[in-house]
């Protein structure tokens, strides 16, 4: 199960993601440096969190112009599962792979805290093992995590079932408390919270099983594909 972990200058959750993919869920991750072409044989791609290019200009915008994103776009069209977490989500949004934009949190501050998500769509490659409306205790850590779309796009997202996760409470001012969305085909998913920080009991003070399901969903999906 080959999973590409895309690394940009300034990515900083790449090693965490790698650890969880390989040591906890026994996949075969490989780092993909931003200025090299994406390897051919990937079953899935993860864009981890961090501060690509120091979040300069706007979080994710400089990374979105990397050559590797062109490759990501190509395999996205083929239906290969792609997950962007935190800065990875911001990059997906800035590159047009996902709708919407991530703005500065309402608090104007970086926020690092645990929160609860509700699963709104259990048809994606990262949520197929969830029940609808299942809860996930999970941490967020971002300064620009306020997901914003205009009303019309919001209606569309709802109609096309593109809202994947919502916060249980008002956390940062996101439109409709959206925490994660997918593309129309459902194979590209972006989320602000960090599942890789919640998948092991040792570091999860609440319950690590729900976050684990995100990775187990992927295993199930790839297993079914192969």
């Amino acid at each position: 199960m080959n999973v590409g972990v895309v690394v940009f200058p300034g990515s900083n959750c790449d090693r965490d993601m790698f650890h969880v993919l390989s040591d906890v869920f026994h996949m075969t991750p490989q780092y993909c440096w931003h200025d090299k072409p994406l390897p051919e044989n990937l079953d899935a791609v993860v864009l981890p969190g961090g501060f690509s290019y120091g979040d300069r200009l706007r979080a994710g915008v400089i990374a979105a112009h990397s050559p590797i994103i062109q490759d990501v776009k190509k395999i996205a069209e083929k239906g290969i599962p792609i997950l962007g977490v935190c800065n990875g989500f911001q990059i997906l949004v800035e590159s047009g792979l996902l709708p919407g934009v991530l703005l500065k949190n309402d608090s104007l501050n970086f926020m690092c805290e645990w929160t609860n998500l509700t699963v709104e769509n259990n048809k994606t490659p990262f949520t197929n093992k969830f029940e609808l409306n299942e809860k996930i205790p999970i941490p967020i850590a971002n300064g620009d995590g306020r997901y914003f779309v205009d009303d019309e796009t919001l209606k569309q997202l709802e109609r096309k079932n593109q809202i994947v996760f919502k916060y249980d409470q008002v956390v940062n001012g996101s439109s409709n408390q959206i925490a994660g969305v997918c593309n129309e085909d459902g194979n590209v998913v972006g989320m602000m919270p960090h599942p890789e920080r919640a998948a092991e009991p040792e570091i999860n003070p609440h319950d690590n099983k729900p976050s684990s399901l995100i990775f187990e969903s992927l295993l199930q999906k790839i297993g079914a594909n192969n």
Binding site: F110, H194, R197
Partner: protein, 721 residues
């Protein structure tokens, strides 16, 4: 930047001629207090620096501890007080950057940060608020961007820091022992400067840190660039893995002058360099400026010409500039050229070893009667005072601060900020527990006992997680050492720390001295900040939620020690009274007892009693678990104390442990075996925090109300004028 007249004479005598202007600049930077420790070095030698786990190598800027299975932990602490006082955002951020590069220099990956922040009275002083807010943002922006979790720290406000800022940062590193940089060099090796371009920012910074702060008009500010620091970290670690680095040092205070001379001195080599090879930001920089610029995010690397090629490839990959600025010689000289012409050529041991001073000291007058006790009016109800304390800036929850710090990145943080010490998991299955503590109010009243108290408090916090203290970092921050009274307080603190370290066999693995911390109103209070690192071989205490019916035991005696307490100072505006003193044997017994309780999995949580005393410590348990508790004051171990003393005295060596009732017998047996003073003082339940005497409440507060006040107070203070 300049030498004092007698230092200039001494320099002339040592080199037998007049120094060149470049030599003058280099020596002035290196002989500054900040770089040379000239006032403190003689005395620092008393601290015990060795221990079974300590690894000593030449040229390390951080302490190294062997944590077994081929792994090491590194640690260091620094402050950035002067820069933060004029530019809190950049000063705090570059403070984080500097200490991280010390960790990196040893060849270890930085895995955690802790920050200690101190400012004036934010309730009254708008400027203090501005400093605080921006310093927090500086730490957050820098650490978060690097992906190094800030897992703990402390925040304190005291009028002695009016118009000033104390920003201490401790950093922890982790790596394989075999990857430690061995710091060696042979003749012909190349000297490489990598990282950001050298600019005019921060010129004279170390001198600046050694002067008292007279005016805002010092242009020593440094602009933080965490993005380039992140690239440097990854590039260096990659180069380390490829074994491309012979020796390495970060550029800090004194810039190239200090890095080059200290490296050469430590490795017993000479270095010849050309300033024209340094990559600069502005084309018109004078060679002296290049030598003393304190531009951030730079590292000095020694390698050889074969490895250089690979090293440059790595720098290219990360788009970091690097330039070969010189090479290693064997004449033990620091030889600086420009356009092929010598502009400085001077023995490194002269540069790197300023003449150490033995400054006079004298017990300060203010201490004569300061510990005289003052009794405060006895009240029948302390609820209002209690609420006021919970809302006070020093006691209110610091969640507004650590909530802005990514404390989870790296996925090592097992115990997160908000409790006592934070705990990290290591790759060998062990755990590391870390806390920093300071207490200037107590150190002011009794510099010796106060410093010991900080040390013991940090130990206590670490012990509460189940960790055994294995190393200490000290950061000694005082005013002008040339004032004998101030210097006396420095020596007393140092002696106290030494006694405790020796008695408890906790080696000092690193530290820093910061002097000349003077505000427009005079010297700061003595502010030693102590970091303690603890190791857990098996399992850390997994903090469990306290429920109704669970019980509370207090270990340790409460004493008549209100001096320097928040109750005295915040409520009664009284500075003085008896300062809490650590009884070494009681302290040791209590630590061992708590460690065994954790190991035997008999308890749900352990919490130390510190700021605000028993009353605040019990409230914290109630507020974080949203459950009430009733504590009869008559049950609290200690003799013959007034209610306010039992409630608010900040006596050391005290722990609150919570547990399920069914464990009570095992617990009591174990505690008796350890021969500690303890008592079951309460049972959890209900919705209010209650303290009683003769069954009558002296405090009765709704948990809900207390919690809201405690959680939101600091944020309210910062956000609203």
């Amino acid at each position: 930047m300049s030498l004092e007249p007698h230092e200039l004479e001494e320099l002339k005598l040592k080199i037998g001629r007049d120094p060149t202007s470049t030599e003058l600049q280099i020596v002035a930077a290196e002989w500054s207090e900040h770089c040379s420790y000239k006032s403190s070095k003689k005395h620092l030698k008393i601290l015990p620096m060795d221990g079974p786990l300590v690894i000593n190598e030449k040229g390390y800027d951080s302490g190294v501890l062997d944590v077994g299975d081929g792994y090491v932990v590194t640690a260091h602490i620094e402050s950035h007080n002067h820069p933060s006082a004029v530019e809190p955002y950049g000063g705090a951020a570059t403070g984080v950057g500097g200490v991280i590069r010390d960790i990196l220099s040893a060849g270890t990956r930085p895995i955690a940060l802790l920050d200690g922040l101190r400012f004036g009275d934010i309730e009254k002083d708008q400027h203090a608020k501005w400093l605080f807010k921006n310093a927090v943002k500086g730490v957050a922006d820098y650490g978060n961007c690097l992906g190094i979790p800030t897992i703990g720290g402390e925040v304190e406000f005291d009028e002695c820091y009016a118009n000033y800022a104390m920003v201490d940062v401790a950093a922890i590193g982790f790596g394989k022992k075999e990857n430690l940089i061995k710091n060696h060099a042979k003749k012909g090796d190349l000297v490489v400067l990598m990282g950001g371009a050298t600019g005019r920012d921060g010129i004279g910074g170390s001198q600046f840190a050694s002067d008292s702060l007279e005016s805002e008009n010092r242009s020593a500010v440094q602009i933080p660039d965490p993005f380039i620091e992140k690239l440097i970290i990854e590039a260096i670690l990659e180069a380390r893995n490829e074994k491309l680095i012979h020796a390495m040092k970060d550029l800090g205070g004194g810039g190239l002058s200090c890095a080059v001379s200290e490296t050469a001195d430590a490795l017993d080599i000479g270095i010849e360099m050309d300033v024209d090879n340094v990559h600069t930001r502005e084309s018109d920089m004078h060679s002296d400026e290049i030598m003393v610029s304190e531009s951030q995010e730079r590292m000095l690397i020694i390698t050889d010409s074969v490895k250089l090629v690979k090293f440059q490839d790595i720098c290219n990959k990360f788009r970091i500039e690097c330039s070969v600025i010189g090479h290693v010689t064997f004449d033990s000289k620091m030889h600086v050229k420009k356009d092929g012409k010598t502009i400085a050529n001077i023995s490194t041991d002269i540069v790197a070893n300023a003449t150490l001073l033995d400054l006079p000291s004298k017990k300060p007058k203010y201490l004569e009667n300061i510990e005289e006790k003052k009794s405060f009016p006895v009240l029948s109800d302390y609820s209002e005072i209690m609420l006021k304390l919970l809302a006070s800036p020093n006691i209110a929850s610091k969640i507004w601060v650590y909530g802005q710090y990514d404390h989870e990145v790296g996925i090592r943080t097992v115990v997160k900020p908000g409790y006592d010490a934070s705990v990290l998991r290591l790759d060998n299955g062990k755990f590391l527990s870390i806390k920093i503590d300071g207490n200037p109010k107590q150190c002011y009243i009794n510099p010796r006992e106060g410093a010991i108290g900080c040390f013991e408090e940090a130990c206590r916090n670490v012990v509460c997680t189940g960790a055994k203290p294995i190393g200490m970092l000290d950061h000694l921050q005082f005013g002008n050492p040339k004032d004998p009274e101030i210097f006396w307080t420095f020596l007393e603190s140092l002696k106290g720390l030494t006694d405790f370290a020796k008695d408890f066999e906790i080696p000092c693995i690193g530290g820093k001295v910061s002097l000349y911390n003077e505000t427009p109103k005079g010297s700061i209070k003595p502010t030693p900040v102590i970091g303690v690192i603890g190791l857990i071989d098996k399992k850390p205490l997994r903090i469990q939620k306290i429920n109704s019916g669970d019980c509370l035991i207090m270990i340790g005696n409460t004493k008549d020690e209100l001096g320097g307490s928040e109750y005295s100072e915040y409520i009664h505006k009284f500075i003085g009274g008896k300062c809490p003193a650590v009884d070494f044997s009681e302290s040791k017994k209590n630590m061992n007892a708590v460690l065994e309780l954790v190991e035997n999995e008999l308890i749900k949580s352990a919490h130390d009693c510190s700021k605000g005393g028993l009353a605040v410590a019990v409230s914290e348990l109630c507020m974080t678990n949203l459950v009430g508790c009733t504590v009869p004051l008559d049950d609290v171990p200690g003799d013959n104390l007034a209610s306010d003393e039992i409630l608010f005295s900040e006596s050391h060596s005290r722990y609150l442990v919570t547990f399920e009732k069914k464990n009570i017998q095992n617990l009591e047996e174990l505690l008796k075996k350890h021969n500690v003073s303890f008592k079951t003082i309460g049972e959890f339940g209900g919705e209010s925090i209650q303290f009683t005497t003769d069954s009558k409440p002296v405090i009765d507060l709704s948990v809900d109300k207390a919690q809201k006040t405690w959680l939101n107070s600091l944020k309210e203070m910062v956000m609203h004028a």
